[in-house]
Structures are given as structure tokens and as C-alpha cells.
Amino acid sequence: MNEFYVGYLPKAPSGIARCIRAVVVLLLIFAAIAAIVFAKVQRTLAPSVFEYGKLGTFEGTIEASPYPILIVAGAGSAESGASRYLLVAEGKHGADSQVVAFAGKTVQLRGTRIYRDNQTMIEVVSGSISLKRDSTRSQPPSQELGIFELAGEIVDSKCYLGVMNPGSGKVHRDCAVRCISGGIPPVFATNDFNGSPAILLLTDLHQKPLPKETFLKLVAQPVRIHGSVVKTGETLYLKTGPSAISPLP
């Protein structure tokens, strides 16, 4: 213990050097264990995919309201014989302004798929929508599923479906606020809709977009919503009002 370390000397005294080597090895082992443990205990990463960098071309009919959707014939579920892809713009922006001119028309567009469970969305390349035909498809019938009281979280559909992971919860709240504020359709994600998880688009009682200011403060935290659920094709809409959304303790 009579050794004395001076940092600007080229070599540390041997006893101190031995001790420090041991400490450093312990620290490195600790760092390795910490990295593996932290990697292992993450639970909020959901099975969702953003096919970043993989552009595709899609053809279908535009449904502009309440939220932009591309109805693609042939693909998707057997019951409707069509798939309904939610459309969003790049970044934290909705696609509303891009699709208004094409409401009800058949178009071709380029974009990137985002999907989670049975829900798929397309991030539309800006300016890529082109008119194919004026002819419209008949709207699939909507089905009233009844009144529900649901517990879950209001999140932005784009991140939740896969652009970010986790796309819900506290760590993602600021982003969800930004996305919804920028026009990304808000969805209500619940683990218990008739006993199974579901993603429902949030609308007002007339199935128009709910004014954002009324619920922006309650985004990405546990809430209870009272409303009626409508099913169009495979898309679920939750019709509710600001007063029917309440924070859960």
C-alpha cells in the first residue's frame, strides 16, 4: 500500500495496476450483464412492422371520410372481398389533403406498408396518387355492433401499427400527441373488445373525426370510453363524444 499513482507517468505502480485491472474487468462484465438483462426484460415491443424502404404500388378506391382509406379489391378478408388500408402521409401528417380530390374514385398510389395484427396502413409517397378511373365501387355495408364501455389507450394509428415500437404508453406519449395533432387518424387500442384485442378508429357521434383538442390531453394513457361500435368491412369505428372519455386511475 505504499504505492502512489501519478497519472502522467507512463506506467502505474504494479499493485495499483493489478487492482485497477481487476476493477475494470469487473466493470466490463457488469456492463455486459446489464446490456443482456436490459435487452431481455423489454416487454413493450409489439409485433408490428414498418416496411421501411420497401415501396409498393397499390390500386383501389379512395374513401376520404372520416379517415382516408384505400379499398383494394381482391385482397384481404373473404367476407368483404376487399382490403381496407388506412392512408397517412409522410412524417407526422395525415393524408386528408392528398385524398380529398380523389374521394370515391379509383386511383393508383405508391407507398410503404405498415401493419400490426390484421390492420394494414400505407404511408403514401407524397404526390404519387393518380386517377385510374372515375367509376366507384359500392360501399360495403356498415354494421352496428352496439354500445360498449371499453378500457384502453388513445394512440395515433401510424406509430401504433408499426412505425414506432413501442407505439403506445408513456414513453411514446409526446409523439402520439404530435402525430394526432398533425392529422394521423387517432385509434383506440384495447385489449378487451369482446374478449380480444382490437384497434378502433375514433370518431364523433356522427362518424366524423373527433375534434383533436377535446382529447389530446388524454392521449397515450389509460382511459375508459363509452361509445357505439360500427364495423365497415374490416374497419372498426368507435363513435363517441369528448364527455364519454375519462381517464382511468
Binding site: 431481455k40 401528417h93 408513456k170 398533425g182
Partner: protein, 414 residues
């Protein structure tokens, strides 16, 4: 001969004594370039800048000196230190990202980068915070302290990478300026579970930036040590902010008890090490020296001080280091002018008190650094009576020469 010249800062600045007998420190002397005392932060100072600062002492060996300047920044210890730090960080990040991507194939790269960098910064901050008290408790940890500021800067860089990625990911490409979004998206300041944790991280990053930006010794001198020290004590504010950032952020979503327990254990470790170090320091301060005669206080016995080392006592609220060397006793302030390092835990090497932290040196007789260096600490009058050291509690102005007390045969027999 050549070694000697380039040896412990005595070439241009020889303290007036014969250095040859002090070969307890022979192992140091075999080294070269002792005068490359790291007077400025190596990671900012390139050799050119360094030379500018150091050219002052006009010396016939000017060339040799400026040659040595180049080595100031990156001596072997620092290179080893930095290589180890960077290896550790790389190991952590690679393992975290590799294992996460393997266990959760659909995890996004952004999230993994944000998490890897943020957690690495937070872990490293724990190490930074533990080094200080560890060194007080056991001097064998001192090599970790020598370059602590490099750790601090790496902490800042990792925190910055984490914060920048988080701002890009969560706040950019939206309908507001990303920074405005960062500061306004969540304003639930009155709810704990909803508390805007990202603002806490942002504030912590701002403080880390200030510390890293002023980390060069140039700032230390120009800001003056008290202001600079205040700035550095903000590291504890940073730590508190980050504990909030993590417990009100990630831990609200990632509910694995392992993470909560790890965060708590980190906090307890930092806290208990600081308490342990503080209680040891307090022991010195509480040891009131009571016997006063003719204005001198009875400080300690000559015997109790190991050769070339010091005893630390507290007089009139100030810590004083009483050194024993070559049959002499000198007392100087315990507080290093560089960064308040505890001189009393240093050694006398070639007639100079050498600070344990970064090796600044002072002549025990005057409290002044040998030229060309200009730091000065206060000195204290001492006398030896019956094998005990008495000191005058009134500090002399820094740099005042005080003749060392000679240890009589009786006293020296120890």
C-alpha cells in the same frame, strides 16, 4: 542524466535540494516526460494549442519541451483509460442492440439506438459519481479519477446521441418545431404518472453540455474554481433529473421489476458511497484540536505521519496537510488549486508535494508550484515539541515561505 532532466519538473524549475536520495520514487524517475503535467484537457487541446499555453518558460531546451507538449494530451495512461472506456461502451451497446434484435426481431432500430445510448449514459453517470467517494475510501481507485472528465464527456456524448435521436423520433416531422414540441407536448406537471419526463432529460442534457463544454482546464482557470465547482456540483442535479426522467418515463411503460430494482440499486450505491466518504471526512473535521499554547495547536505526533506522507487535521475550519519528509515537517493547505484535490493524500516526490488526483505539485516550504507553474496554496507555521507537531492555525498568504521544522533525533526515531 537525460531522464533526470526530463524527470519530475525539476529541469527548469529545480527545487533547491538534491533530488538524488529520494529514490523511494525511483520507479517514477525512470519514466520520461514527467513535466508533461496535464494542465489542460487533452481531448480539446491539440498539441498546437498546448504549445501556445506552455511556451512561456523561455528555456534553452525549448524544443525538447514543445516536443513533450505533444505527449501531454495523450500519455499512455490516458490512452489506456480511453480505450477501456470506449471498449466498455461499445461492448454494452453492441450486446444490448444485438440481444434485443435477436430476442425481438420486430424492434425498430431507432428505439434500440435510443435505449442503448440512454441507458449507457445513465450507467456511466453512476460510475462517474462513484469514483469520487471510492477514491476517498481507497486510494487504489485513484487511476479511475485521473481521467474522470473523459468519462463525463463520454456520458454527455451518449446522452446527446440519445436525446437527439429521441427528438428526431418523437418530435420531428410534425406540425410544430421539434424543440417546441419537446417542451410543450406534455404539460401535466401536476400528475406524477403523467409527468413530462422528456423535459427532465432535456434539462439534464443542457447541464451535461455546460459541464462538457467547460471541461477544458482553460475554463477552470477563467471561470475561477468556485464558479466552476458550483457548475460541477450540478452533476448531482443532473443525476436527480435523470432519476426522474427514468422513473417517470421508461419505468411507467416498461414495468419489469428488474428495471425498477436496478434503478433503485444504482441510486442506493451512489448514495451510500457518498455517505461513507462523507463520514470519513467528517471524522477529520470533528476531531477538534483542543490544546492551544501560545497560539499554536497540538496537531499530531511526528511518529504518526509516514515518511513522505501527510496527516490531515482541521484547524479553524480549514483542512491542513502536515507533511513529513527528509527529517522535516511542513504544513500546507489540504486543498489543491487545480480541482480541490486532497493534497494530504498525496506524496512528497522529489521534494514536491504531489496531488493524488492529477499530480499538480507544490513545494512544501512555500506552498508554491515550482516554476514555470504558478499555483500557490497557503502555508502554516509549525513547530515540534516533544515529538508532537504543533501548528499555527492562522494560514499564511498562499506562497509564503515557512521554514520547515526539523525533526530532532528524539522525534525522528520513529
Amino acid at each position: 542524466m537525460n531522464l533526470r532532466k526530463r524527470g519530475i519538473r525539476t529541469d527548469d524549475s529545480a527545487p533547491p535540494q538534491d533530488p538524488s536520495p529520494h529514490f523511494s520514487s525511483a520507479r517514477f524517475v525512470t519514466s520520461s516526460a514527467l513535466s508533461e503535467r496535464p494542465r489542460f484537457s487533452p481531448f480539446l487541446a491539440n498539441a498546437g494549442k498546448a504549445a501556445k499555453f506552455r511556451r512561456a518558460p523561455a528555456s534553452p531546451r525549448g524544443n525538447a519541451m514543445s516536443h513533450q507538449y505533444q505527449a501531454i494530451g495523450w500519455n499512455r495512461q490516458k490512452r489506456v483509460y480511453d480505450v477501456v472506456v470506449l471498449t466498455g461502451v461499445a461492448l454494452y451497446i453492441a450486446l444490448f442492440i444485438g440481444f434485443s434484435a435477436w430476442l425481438v426481431p420486430y424492434a425498430t432500430a431507432e428505439t434500440l439506438i435510443i435505449r442503448a445510448a440512454g441507458s449507457a449514459a445513465f450507467l456511466l453517470l453512476h460510475v462517474v459519481l462513484c469514483i469520487g467517494p471510492l477514491c476517498r475510501l481507497d486510494s487504489r481507485f485513484l487511476p479511475l479519477l485521473y481521467n474522470r472528465r473523459h468519462l463525463g464527456v463520454v456520458t454527455f456524448l451518449l446522452g446527446a446521441a440519445h436525446g437527439i435521436f429521441a427528438v428526431i423520433q418523437f418530435h420531428s416531422l410534425g406540425d410544430k418545431d421539434p424543440l417546441v414540441s419537446l417542451l410543450t407536448s406534455n404539460q401535466n406537471f401536476r400528475s406524477l404518472p403523467d409527468f413530462p419526463f422528456q423535459q427532465l432529460g432535456f434539462l439534464a442534457l443542457v447541464i451535461l453540455f455546460l459541464m462538457a463544454a467547460t471541461s477544458h482546464d482553460y475554463w477552470l482557470r477563467n471561470l475561477t474554481p468556485p464558479i466552476w465547482k458550483t457548475l460541477h456540483m450540478l452533476v448531482y442535479v443532473t443525476y436527480a433529473l435523470l432519476i426522474g426522467h427514468v422513473t417517470l418515463g421508461l419505468l411507467q411503460s416498461e414495468t419489469s421489476p428488474v428495471l425498477a430494482v436496478a434503478t433503485g440499486a444504482g441510486f442506493v450505491t451512489v448514495l451510500s458511497l457518498h455517505l461513507a466518504a462523507a463520514s470519513r471526512e467528517r471524522a477529520v473535521d470533528l476531531n477538534k484540536l483542543k490544546t492551544v499554547t501560545n497560539g499554536f495547536v497540538d496537531a499530531c505526533s511526528v511518529e504518526s505521519i509516514p515518511e513522505k506522507c501527510a496527516a490531515v487535521v482541521s484547524v479553524s475550519g480549514e483542512r491542513v496537510a502536515i507533511f513529513k519528509f527528509d527529517g522535516k515537517i511542513s504544513a500546507i493547505s489540504n486543498v489543491c488549486r487545480h480541482q480541490n484535490g486532497p493534497l494530504g493524500e498525496g506524496r512528497v516526490i522529489d521534494g514536491c508535494v504531489t496531488c493524488p488526483w492529477h499530480g499538480y505539485q507544490y513545494l512544501p516550504e512555500t506552498g508554491g508550484s515550482p516554476p514555470p507553474f504558478t499555483e500557490k496554496v497557503s502555508t502554516f507555521q509549525t513547530k515540534i515539541v516533544d515529538g508532537r507537531v504543533w501548528i499555527d492555525p492562522k494560514p499564511k498568504a498562499p506562497g509564503t515561505r515557512v521554514e520547515p521544522s526539523r525533526i530532532s533525533d528524539v522525534g525522528a526515531r520513529a
